[in-house]
């Protein structure tokens, strides 16, 4: 999606450091000062080998964890300073998670799964169901909305999960290896869906993957190695 005016910055990370086992002999520094800006409407991919710090960075972007040092602002909200319940609110309202293993709630229909983030946001039941049906229509899952997750194929599950991620109209979609558990054909369909969200709905999408080929489909690739951002081929180190 092309925009005339300079796009707003949705993610602003400065010198993010993450250490584990602080104060013990096993103290471990995973992220060594990451600074990253993501503009509104950008489709970004973060790639890296396992052990590069990619997952830790994703957890911080997703407000599941706080950095040890540095600042992180998501859609104008300081995540690094947020308390647990504020983090829940941020995850609920500003982030739409898509997981490799789909993570639909078992024994709960596709429709109820999509409603769930709205339930936690306190959206009234009628509005919730209406919106969930619209989202399921968008991912072409209307016919299966009353099916339980164990009655759906992998690709169908991921489509429901994407509809769920969109429920509260989040600032970013954070997708962690969304095609990792799918065969190449259904994986392709899921990627097409992300492109749709990006092109037609102007969604900001952060895709975490170790599949470089997949990453080349996105606007920008950020490579993580040893807890640092590696300057990319275009030579554009993040400010």
């Amino acid at each position: 999606m092309q925009r005339e005016a300079p796009a707003r910055t949705i993610i602003r990370m400065r010198d993010i450091i993450k250490r584990f086992y602080i104060g013990t002999p096993n103290e471990l520094q995973i992220l060594n000062g990451i600074s990253l800006d993501v503009r509104e409407g950008e489709f970004l991919s973060i790639v890296g080998e396992s052990g590069s710090g990619k997952s830790t960075l994703m957890n911080i972007i997703g407000a599941l964890d706080r950095p040890t040092e540095g600042t992180y602002e998501l859609d104008g909200v300081r995540v690094d300073e947020a308390k647990d319940d504020q983090l829940s609110k941020i995850r609920n309202g500003k982030i739409g998670f898509v997981f490799q293993t789909f993570n639909l709630i078992p024994r709960t229909s596709a429709l109820k799964n999509v409603e769930l983030p709205m339930l936690y946001a306190g959206v009234p039941a009628g509005k919730r169901t209406k919106r969930a049906k619209e989202l399921l229509e968008m991912v072409e899952m209307t016919e299966r909305m009353n099916h339980m997750p164990n009655e759906l194929s992998g690709g169908q599950k991921q489509r429901v999960a994407i509809a769920r991620a969109m429920a509260n109209d989040p600032a970013i979609i954070l997708a962690d290896e969304p095609t990792g558990a799918l065969d190449s054909r259904t994986g392709r369909l899921v990627m097409d869906l992300f492109h749709d969200l990006h092109d037609k709905h102007g969604k900001t999408i952060v895709l975490i993957t170790h599949n470089y080929k997949l990453a080349t489909e996105t606007d920008r690739i950020v490579t993580i190695s040893d807890g640092r951002i590696v300057p990319n081929r275009e030579g554009g180190e993040e400010a």
Binding site: G62, L64, S88, R91, F99, L104, L116, L119, Y120
Partner: protein, 422 residues
């Protein structure tokens, strides 16, 4: 609270998908609540039948008895009332004359247990000396003939009012009316006495006779009433009584009459160092007795309630298992923005639902068993609305108490760890 109904549906969903486990978990609660409810029913039945039996003796009756003034707690010496210490018919006659509300009095004195015998025919009897008013005061239903009269008393006559049961056994084929005037030969303390039957009363079996198992129907013991003067002659006891029953006017408060009767009679005992008279109305006795029985049944129910704690621990155990099994689900919910409080409420509600369903089943089981058992006591009782309400709220409380720890554990899970959990 947002989505409480969703939590209830969710919990029911979870239970449905694991029926056997849910049932086994509930079993502890079912047994606990069921036994408490059952015991309450039986307790109600016992209280009801006891107070019923006592009330049938007449709620307007007042018991008058001679009582030792002070029992020395060190020596615990119990004095036996001497002849001078006993109530006399003169005192009781004066009581009826002087104290308003006192209508009549009845006295009785056991002459011992004996057997009426004639050839191979026999009937077990308790020989009881009574005055004329005894039968009416104690609601004994005279079927035919007459009661003991003052003339019987004055003449120390060997006459008796017997049960229809005795007539049936000793004079088979004879009607109650034809039995009047017949002689009945009673062996009492190795002596033989002949009594002329002047009246026949309707025998009513005590509800406890069946429970206490006093032997076969044919051997059961019925009362044989004789004049109290005759009884004195047989036993050689002193003239006078340790206790008597006074009938109060039903229009008056029986406890007030009882107090006035005590005041009146104690004038005779003003100079008595050792004994005085106390009185208690049947009404007071019934209420004391029923509150005592209530206390006992509540105490037993509380003991049965201990099994509820065991049931609660079972619920806690299964909730901990459930939290572990659903770690990933909890992680997902947290990633979708569930605050800790929402997770906590979800699991507490689930524990409450388990306990509530268990409690309701327990109430039904307890009511059925309690009804069956109380029916055997001849006083069918169902659990009261109050005890059902207590049982329901108690099972919910168990759900909250034993569900809180697992729920809190779930609420405090680290979302990253939980999402990664295999």
């Amino acid at each position: 609270m947002t989505g409480m109904w969703e939590n209830v549906l969710l919990a029911l969903n979870g239970l449905r998908s694991n029926k056997m486990r849910a049932l086994l978990t509930m079993l502890g609660i079912i047994i606990g609540i069921g036994s408490v409810i059952g015991i309450m029913c039986v307790g109600d039945a016992v209280t009801g039948s006891v107070t019923d039996a006592m009330s049938s003796l007449g709620v307007n009756n007042i018991t008058v008895a001679v009582q030792q003034r002070v029992v020395d707690l060190n020596s615990m010496e119990i004095l036996t009332p001497e002849e001078d210490d006993l109530l006399t018919t003169d005192m009781l006659d004066a009581l009826v004359e002087e104290v308003p509300g006192v209508l009549d009095y009845s006295i009785s004195e056991s002459a011992g247990s004996g057997q009426a015998k004639d050839g191979h025919k026999y009937a077990n009897v308790s020989v009881t000396g009574v005055n004329g008013a005894y039968l009416s005061v104690n609601n004994v239903n005279l079927l035919t003939g007459r009661t003991i009269t003052d003339r019987d008393m004055e003449g120390t006559k060997y006459v008796a009012v017997v049960s229809d049961f005795l007539v049936e056994k000793m004079f088979p084929g004879l009607s109650n009316r034809d039995a009047l005037g017949q002689e009945v030969r009673v062996t009492l303390n190795d002596d033989i006495y002949n009594f002329t039957i002047v009246g026949v009363y309707e025998n009513v079996d005590s509800p406890y006779a069946a429970l206490l198992g006093t032997g076969s129907e044919a051997d059961k013991r019925t009362d044989l009433y004789i004049p109290v003067t005759t009884s004195h002659r047989i036993t050689g006891a002193e003239e006078g009584f340790t206790s008597a029953t006074v009938t109060a006017d039903v229009q008056m408060d029986s406890q007030t009459v009882a107090n006035e009767a005590a005041d009146f009679l104690n004038r005779y005992y003003a100079d008595n160092q050792d004994f005085s008279v106390y009185t208690i109305s049947m009404e007071t006795m019934v209420s004391q007795m029923s509150s005592m029985l209530d206390t006992v049944s509540i105490a037993i129910a509380v003991i049965a309630g201990i099994s509820l704690v065991v049931g609660g621990i079972g619920v806690m155990n299964i909730m901990l298992v459930s939290v572990t099994e659903r770690t990933r689900e909890i992680g997902t919910r947290k990633a979708l923005g569930a605050p800790n409080s929402a997770i906590r409420v979800q699991f507490v509600v689930e524990a409450m639902i388990i306990c509530l369903i268990g409690g309701v089943i327990g109430i039904i089981v307890g009511a059925v068993l309690g009804y069956a058992a109380s029916n055997l006591l001849g006083f069918p009782a169902l659990p009261s609305i109050g005890s059902i309400a207590i049982a329901v709220s108690f099972s919910l409380a168990i759900g909250v108490f034993f569900g809180y720890y697992p729920a809190n554990k779930a609420a405090k899970l680290d979302p990253i760890e939980a999402l990664r959990y295999e």
